[in-house]
Symmetry: D3
Subunit: 312 residues, 6 copies
């Protein structure tokens, strides 16, 4: 075989055979999942990225929208962007509902329900703006390196994550949990912050640095809570039913009350409660509730551990 | 100096001088690396991103390919995409082989070898589909928040990482370790999961959340293993030869047997073995082997540590 | 409501009302921040991404520039790219200075100052090349998995992070801290490595794996320092002034002297000094200075901790 | 007003008033056309351009498709492209049918009819390939400047025009005349050759140079006809009905029999017949039939004209 | 020289020498034009294309704007598009005025004048909509092949040309003749219809087919005029001043009164008047005025020509 | 069949059968052209468009290159653009030579010859700049509507056409006639001016308006010639050899000497000579030589015609 042979494109990959093998595997996979026919469509990650970019622009047109907007044009930009992205969102929600309906063998159109979700989502957008304003202010006040709220908005990955979360959580609550999850993962990929869309988070929430933060589906977080990088609010263990299958959906993540600070690397597991105003030190491993005003650090946890503390 | 002066573009950057200085530094750098002539080309990160997108589409055309594929068109899409990306991959592999050949002063064409690698890679693609199907199923069964295998495929960063790894590992094994590494880093950048392409990983592997996971070059992982965020399977120390240079390539990362679960933040270092069915607790720091069925947590490690445990 | 009704586009989103509500919230937000008029513009993340891509290409045209450059064309490429990106950078710096001037109610043009910063930045580019060459060499020598310096340059996220940092730090020092911060966050998003642009870092710096690394604003790092994933060089506590506001800018992060190695997960907090040649073990939590040549690991910290160690 | 005033974006365009005026004009326009509600959608010129590019690629994949196709991949490319563009074409046809239905107040879905048209269009594609092959051969044989049939295919605007026409004519015949017309205008814009999609054109048709050629809706052209630039096959006059409205659709353009050559600038008007094998000279103005084998030039027309010839 | 030599990129083009030669020629060219310094910038063809696309969308949002607009979003789209393109247009007009000012050695800012032009242009947009509506109606009534006014709008090159002209003419009149001319040439390139922006054209103007139509700078065209392909309304001769230089700007093109029809290929030259309601036949060559109601064809012109006809 | 059926994508196009039919037709076509194997590649129209855009930018960087170039950056831009496009051009020339070699069954590499052509082309670029400068000056002096040479360069389609021609003609002369022809057709498509790349054209050539101009392969045009729209310099008849095949390449188009003006619509056919300084009137049909200083118009041609003039 010569190079010029290759220049002529005679690669002999065996494409026909590969295509046949891959088709066979697809068919088997569908049968395994009891969908013997063709697979229903899923929402598109790429479309959702476009929608989220648009939502950022609608909420903060001067900062996350177009750089050259002026007073006369700004409302037209907001209205046009909003109208466009709501239609796109409606379509993605429809895909999720259709997908679920086919899984359960349901018939009938999902469009009405999808539209209702998208409309209610729109209604709640101003509230998201108010909440994110409080998050920005919390970050500005909580970080000595922050020079202005505007810097926080355009620089801080924690703000990116919380904007995505507050939007995703609405959709999760309204009945589009898959679209919500995909939105959360967009933020996870760009920030390293992994907040399940089911988590309930109060106003003025601040995540600093953020890489490695994990917040679980049933976590409940109060107002004015501050969290640093690599903090986990996770489940301690998973319940299984009599068939050995995981029980899905039960409350299994921590409740964090107002004004709590959790330093970097702390791991808080299980349906426990961190009382109001508590401080959890860095790298602490915590699996039981603490009363309001507690101050927990590695030493206190460890000393407790060695004073007969039950294992994990 | 006035603004209008700037409008006319008289910035006086001193481009000529900068270009000359930078050229001088490039030449010195080449001489340092014993390549006095021009630098050989390397594979392109951007091209590899395109290739990986295509491979995802080929393996899962309905989920990671085009949103509107139908039965009649799907095989044509798969075949066309496959043919296109294999040619691109062949070219990137050629670049790596050419680069290595020039470093070692070898002559002769690398095209035949590059083609052989690309062809064998193609042959193994159906096996990758089978393995990733097992990974998806493992994630679905292992996460109470997962609603369907399809959601897992499109949402979970752990799946993105393992698809990249299974493809990169083939190339690593066939003799294109640089292309393999660049593919791994694409996944690392988008997921925060850092799996060296040399790692050997069995079927049904599930990484949850994933940010901060590091799996080293010579790690060996069995079947049905589950790993959470921030887990490290690393080297304990690096061997140096008589000249003080690092010894490269020796087995220095853990062996994890079948059915092991490793919780978030655990650090496992050195060529040790985690016996089948063991559970390693969160944040555990482990540098010695444990027998099958072990259940290791912070308390057990620490108590051992203070009972005369040798340091690290 | 029927599907065809939707096909005709009668979604009734209530766009007019939403636009009005969002406008009202924007106005309130501006008033809160004492900017009753329209908001000044900020630097653009997207533009900065383009500028950073160009700077990588200028510094390493054969590796991060165009794949097909040859000797005859390379200086033209470098000169053209440089000239283009310096003008863009100048514009972004102007935006920051204008923004700050408006916040402080200053008048007069900022263009002269912006140009001075951009010019000095250009002057320092060759130095950045020299420093990054030392970083690449350090990574090649420090990682047994590295096969060549070229592989390090195109694969290692730590190199991506340090290139961004060395460029951002110049701008931070010259008086464009917001542009600097935005550049740092570009690296943070793609690598999971969070280095504040204020940090001072000596030559031959190597970050391996890197996800979760956090290096604070006033950290000072010597030459030949090596750092692994999830290492934090952070502040221990924040000072507040008499009004309860955070004191901004004081030295609050560690000093790391030459030839120090810090293993994965170590947390080093406060204005302490890690003496030359020390080794800090994985997951160590350290809040006091250690002398040159120290070797600190979890056991030693803990034993100290339980021998009357003050809390954190 | 100062420049810096403009920099701040206070242009005062009066957007609100303009938007209101333009809305009012749109509403009036709809009322004039008896469509008091919202306007139905029309086919998209941009989509049709994409579809036509795809059809060229399907018919001549090696010449108008991808430059690097090889034997193994070509059918996959053709099949994938075909499947994609037929779906797009179906959608554009649906738009036309829907538009017409709304104009006539018809109800019921047009999708079945649109699909039938698209399917029949697909069936006729191989015939188009055969016809265009004959056109290419005719150009190669008819132009001394042509070096190969391949050059003709990629260079000659006449070939671009006839490919568009042969595809548009099928759609015109099957009942999608608006889509057909839009396709014709794509060719008109890029070649200056204006062939109405209703024209019937036999095999081996060659247009040289082509700019300014106009061929009317009811023209009928035989086999092996050759036409040069600026030739018009037009209508002599338009019939009006009793209300003074133009009668649409009646046969009003020339019939050109087999083997006719028409030189540049000739104008042939009305439902006349140019007999088989005739030659029409450059710039001739012809409004009456000529028998087979005629040779018409300016002199002959003029002499006839002045020998008592009836006016035009 | 071998192929592999080329693969390594040693082409030896002599770039340095070419760059130097071309620089020398640029400098000479500037000196010739009495601009010894750097050349002022000109408006950008590409930007004007974007602006014209936007103007089409603003005037006909449902037909030339976005395909999926609905009632709720349409005004936001129009307002946003309008605001964006007016700013762009203002910038292009500024470039023209700046260019002219530098040619004449004038100082002082042109921004105020540019803004005044752009604002007045905006004020006249609704009038353009009314005029183009009349043009569309004229085409629908004048072409038996037209099925609906909407088809005319999206298909007919004559409509594309007249939309461009009506917009360009405003700018020509307001004092931006270069921007106006560049807009006209955009239409010329895509339609083959060449209307100088100075031409004055009344309502209900219809150009059928259009390729090759040329209408000169000082032409005056009344209402309800119809023109076919390849019609020229040109100058008969150019006046020169005492220095032999062309006199620019004098009235030198025809006046065409209301209700005139001019058939394909007619050439009408000089400042003559075609009286109201006249019909000019195809290919007629006309250089003298004709009274209202005239019907001119080739025969009549020629017979006149030979009855002692003065030359042309 | 229902709409939702279609939503699921069951279109049943019969793709498999169509792909098979089209493949069969491709194979037949190759056999017909005596290329039984796979078709050689041709130059790419799209690549050539990119190359021509680059050449315009290299020749006139301030007008056809980047809008914001300044003195310091311009040579770098020119050098970088030039180096890039010459490599691309070399590749396209190689394709043509390879294509011709395969047609003639030749073996051996064409790369050396392609490189020689590309290098010589580069050498001649400064000459093209000089010639086009003369063309621009001619247009400025010849058109009363032209306000500056810069306006001519950016507005006039005749300048676009002559830039393309002067570049294409070099390639035609050096032995790449297919690439040359494709370049000519790019200009033809955007301007309606069709100049065969073989035509020889002297300095200071001006085409006004231009739509419909056709200039044949063997035409020879002197200096300071001016031509208006729809002028044809064509062949009178084509010679055939004993086999009835067209004789290709013989001199068959007019010679136009210096200082000739040819008005719109004139048709000049055959290897005749238009003597220096002659004026050819509009719409004249001319097939015989005229001496220097002639002034030909319709009347003179016609009177000659009827005074016993031999037919055409």
């Amino acid at each position: 075989m010569t190079d010029s042979h290759l220049e002529n494109g005679n690669f002999d990959w065996g494409i026909d055979g590969l295509v046949a093998q891959l088709r066979e595997l697809r068919v088997q996979s569908l049968e395994t999942r009891s969908r013997r026919d063709k697979p229903p469509k899923l929402p598109s990650r790429k479309e959702l990225q476009t929608i989220l970019d648009g939502l950022g622009a609608v909420l903060f047109p001067n900062r996350l929208g177009l750089p050259d907007l002026n007073d006369e044009g700004i409302d037209y930009f907001v209205g046009h962007t909003l109208e466009t992205l709501l239609r796109k969102l409606y379509k993605q929600i429809s895909r999720e509902l259709q997908f679920v309906a086919e899984q359960h063998g349901l018939e009938g159109s999902v469009h009405g329900q999808a539209l209702a979700i998208a409309r209610q989502f729109a209604v709640e957008l101003p509230t998201v703006r108010i909440l994110v304003d409080s998050d920005i202010q919390a970050a500005f006040e909580g970080d000595p390196a922050a020079r202005s709220p505007d810097e926080v908005l355009v620089c801080y990955p924690g703000i990116t994550a919380i904007i995505h979360h507050r939007l995703a959580h609405i959709l999760y609550r309204l009945g589009a949990p898959l679209v919500a999850r995909m939105i959360s993962e967009l933020a996870h990929s760009s920030t390293g912050i992994d907040i399940h869309p089911g988590a309930q988070i109060g106003e003025s929430f601040f995540i600093d640095h953020g890489t490695g933060v994990v917040i679980g589906e049933t976590a409940v977080i109060g107002k004015h809570v501050r969290v640093y990088q690599a903090v986990t609010l996770g489940a301690k263990r998973f319940l299984k039913d009599d068939n050995g299958m995981l029980v899905k959906g039960n409350a299994r993540h921590p409740i964090v009350e107002d004004d709590v600070v959790i330093y970097a690397g702390a791991t808080i597991l299980g349906r426990i409660t961190i009382g109001q105003g508590s401080t959890i030190g860095g790298n602490v491993w915590l699996t039981h509730s603490v009363p309001p005003g507690s101050s927990i650090n590695q030493a206190s946890v460890r000393s407790e551990l060695f004073q007969g503390g039950a294992g994990i």
